[in-house]
């Protein structure tokens, strides 16, 4: 497991990996939320001053004046996180989300715990905890059992897949000896390489030679084998085409799809 990865198990025991948010992005989100809080407090104070001079209204105004900052400091985050499934405006802007350790969205209780303990985190304890915890959790997260994660944005409505391999010579060429020694891992590497776009031709050729040299070892080719004389890129394409029938059987096969 990567140091900053948080993995949860769903009810049907599928692991979902989340990237824990780092100190930088969380600080930026905090800054945005602080600005919003500042505006809220300022607005409350302006209202308070506007109604201040008169009798009872004045008392109310004074009460607002003193109580609002503390209530906003704890209440803003608590309400925002409980209502929006863990995304305050600042976190949303940065693509962050608070989740419970089991992956669920925080409820009122979790939001209260992590944001009351915030009073303790603000003077610096939080920063120390974030440096020590591998998922950058502050004390409030530790007490509430939450973690702040990065949400990758939905880039498109369709799943990204590798583009189809670019093959310059669509024929598989003569059968290569020892091709049975290659498995899914090698096939996947071939696919990835051949699908890769935007490589400079020279770079591509150099990369192909490195990969070809490795594969020749796996194939246990003689030093005198004719395949050694092929250009590296041609060898890789032919290997790919010869492996394909084994690794990716006919597309017509129904497979274990689910009715949806």
């Amino acid at each position: 497991m990567l140091p900053d990865l948080h993995e949860i198990r769903t009810a049907d025991n599928v692991g979902i990996g989340y990237d824990a948010a780092g100190i930088g992005s969380r600080f930026l989100a905090f800054a945005i939320d602080s600005v919003i809080q500042g505006v809220v407090i300022l607005a409350a104070l302006v209202v308070a001053l506007a109604i201040a001079p008169e009798g009872v209204a004045g008392s109310v105004a004074i009460a607002l004046f003193v109580l609002v900052p503390l209530l906003v400091a704890v209440g803003y985050y608590t309400v925002a996180e409980a209502l929006t499934a863990g995304r305050t405006p600042g976190k949303r802007a940065l693509g962050l989300r608070v989740i419970r350790l089991d992956g669920g969205a925080p409820g009122l209780t979790e939001a209260l715990v992590r944001n009351i303990v915030r009073l303790l985190d603000m003077p610096g304890f939080g920063l120390v905890a974030m440096f020590l915890d591998r998922r950058s959790r502050r004390l409030g997260d530790l007490a509430a059992g939450t973690v702040v994660v990065r949400e990758r944005r939905a880039s498109a409505a369709v799943a990204p897949v590798l583009p189809p391999p670019m093959l310059r010579t669509p024929d598989a060429g003569p059968a290569i000896e020892g091709v049975d020694r290659l498995g899914p891992a090698e096939w996947s590497a071939l696919r990835t390489f051949l699908s890769r776009q935007g490589l400079h031709p020279e770079q591509r050729a150099r990369l192909a030679e490195v990969i070809a040299a490795r594969l020749c070892e796996r194939l246990e080719l003689d030093t005198t084998a004719p395949e050694r004389q092929w250009p590296a890129e041609l060898l890789l394409e032919r290997l790919y085409l010869q492996l394909e029938p084994r690794m990716a059987p006919a597309p017509a096969q129904p497979g274990p799809g689910m009715p949806v």
């Binding site: 409980a82 209780t109 009073l119 303790l120 799943a159 497979g255 949806v260």
Partner: protein
Amino acid sequence: MTPEQFAARRRDSWAELERRIAQSRRGALRSVPAADLQRFGVLYRHAASDLAIARRDFPGEPVADYLNGLCARAHPLLYRGRPFRPSSLPAFYATGLPRAVRAAGPYVAASLALSLVGVIAGWLAVRLRPDIAATLIPDSLFDRMARGEANSGVGSAPFAATFIIQNNIRVALLCFAGGALAGSLTVFSLLANGWMLGTLAAAVHRDGFDRPFWALIVPHGVIELSVIVLAGATGLMLGDAILRPGLLRRGDALVAVAPRAVELAVGVASLLVIAGLLEGFVSPSDLPIGVKYAVGATTAVLLYSWLLLSGRSPRRPAPVPQLGG
């Protein structure tokens, strides 16, 4: 099957899930009709099982990564903590909070003991070393005494009241939060709070101002000191979970006890509004001392009969109603 074939076959289902995630804009599903919600669940579970297939068959392919992100975005929308229902508040204050206080009995006792240690230590320090008494009493207290035959120096009564309310709420919440540092800050707060009261009481006693002093403290002090002790108890609950986690890991023990503790902390902190109003309006007022003591005695009777008697059941105790439920 290549990842391309896999994706082509399942793409429509994933796209629909994406649309539904985007639809729940506020990140909440509450406005979604039941049938749609069920559909969301079905799509999510299919995506999760596709993720499992992709992990097995195409590890490291973009499609596995994509599915992980898709499931990660859908999961918190379906699985959530209990939402807050305002309708649960009356029951919480009527019976839930007193029960929670009684359930925390040992911690309340420990918190009270720590406060008393502070009080006694402060009292003894001033009595035994009158020569350095001035340095033993925290400065802020002298200020507060200097403010007056009351808090009038702070300005108007409303201002004093709200200022005191917010200050005490902050102290109470910090008593809770301090539990996250294994209770160390909570213990310190309780001792310091007791020390403050002890040194002050001793100094006042020495100078023979007992009656006006206690008239100033008692009307609001009953609630205020009780709340600090109870808030301290919540911090001790957290600290105890860290220091003596039992069979759990320390972090897990802390997380397990935190919901109960925070409910108690927030519940008792809200009582400080009453204490603050008394402190701002009654304690510094010109009412006869007898009335002030009567106010204190009344709050004591009301507070403790509520905390000790409310929600008791002659049969086996019902489960503690929680703020979220």
